[in-house]
Symmetry: C2
């Protein structure tokens, strides 16, 4: 039996090169959207509605009695009280609630995958690594690992997560893709000390030196601390 | 004194993210355009005129009594007698001649860099690695290492060459760029046996399994075997 294919897309600006129609697309925004999404749903939120603008987040949250949250350029977006930190959403605060979330890169990529007719969209991050891997191996469908990057630029942390997925599930897929090989090589080199490697990343400087978010970084690089499968269905990210 | 910046662009589809106006852009198409360009000029050709279509290559070569050459999808383009192999152009054959060349990726990226107002464009490959590095360190200008990829997809061999440049000249530049860090990490891991690593690359399969071009691969991964500086001036690639 032919194995399904697995490809890694290193930037949203390259997404058009991949056929998403029959594929599961994994949205990857390690610092921090998809890590926060895993954390929020792991802590009992009802669902997350990803939206592209701050006004839309405010409008929808008012209408459904949800919580508007969002990030622009690494900090809480102007006009909002809640941001994009996975540590902001304790069970006490978020359980049973709906979060309406807008972020710089991750939610943008999700909407691009929708526009490109992805078969299925799930959200991936180190905190829910095993749930992602178990789901992908069970589907027997083609996979595109979609790195959200930073304003269309390549970033290393999303690629490292793609490499983590590949190193765990590669025997179930046909992989002829230099991006995937690069991701796996980088992950294999640094997997034993991702947090120690983090200060080399451009995004680390943005988050830690400007905003002091070292605990966010640690959480976002820790496998399976919010190990839920997150699927996009009918406009919402839900735990399955 | 502030050091100039160095960035690595992993695909032509990401070139718009970089400011080329005051930068030296290094066009990198390891398999095989920029390796062939180094070889042709090292072997005494007068110059190379890069063009974007086969009819244009034929028309110009007739007008100036040059040699039309080109590649599409890894083989000699229909309608041409000469292709994109660095081993095709011996001194006996090419010395004193003008080559009019069209290729799938490298010449396309060169024209994109022109359209984006690059300050200076040079051609880089392992065969002329030292000439490229010496030039870049002497300029004191910003640098963008432009990987030609394969039809806008990321490829590893161009990234490995970017990594080779970075590992040799990084102390002269300010580098805050995950693409550059990735390139350097990959090169440092595989620099001692690039040819042994080559069978992992998607482009290797295209060239070797379909067309038997293993000698081309070896040449293209050997540093300084055609060590000339190649600059684009007035529509022509010339040896400086």
């Amino acid at each position: 039996m032919n194995k399904p294919s697995l490809n890694t897309c290193l930037s949203p600006a390259l997404l058009h090169l991949y056929d998403l129609k029959n594929a599961v697309v994994v949205i990857i925004d390690v610092f921090r959207a998809t890590s926060t999404i895993a954390s929020v749903l792991h802590n009992g939120a009802k669902c997350i509605i990803p939206v592209d603008t701050v006004p839309k987040a405010i409008e929808i949250s008012k209408r459904i009695d949800g919580i508007a949250a969002g990030e622009r350029d690494g900090k809480i977006a102007d006009g909002l009280q809640h941001g994009n930190s996975p540590l902001e959403y304790s069970t006490d605060f978020i359980s049973g609630k709906t979060l309406v979330l807008t972020t710089t890169n991750g939610t943008k990529l999700l909407h691009m995958a929708l526009d490109n007719n992805a078969d299925t969209i799930i959200s991936g991050s180190f905190p829910n690594l095993s749930a992602v891997c178990n789901y992908l191996t069970a589907q027997n469908k083609n996979v595109v690992l979609g790195c959200a990057g930073w304003k269309d630029r390549y970033n290393l942390e999303d690629t490292l997560f793609a490499g983590a997925v590949i190193s765990k599930i590669k025997e179930h897929f046909t992989i002829h893709c230099d991006s995937s090989l690069t991701a796996e090589l980088l992950y294999e080199k640094h997997k034993d000390d991702l947090t120690g490697f983090a200060p080399n990343l451009t995004h680390y400087h943005r988050l830690v030196e400007r905003f002091g978010l070292i605990e966010d970084i640690r959480f976002c690089l820790t496998p399976d601390v919010a190990n839920v499968l997150v699927v996009y269905e009918d406009g919402k990210l839900v735990k399955k």
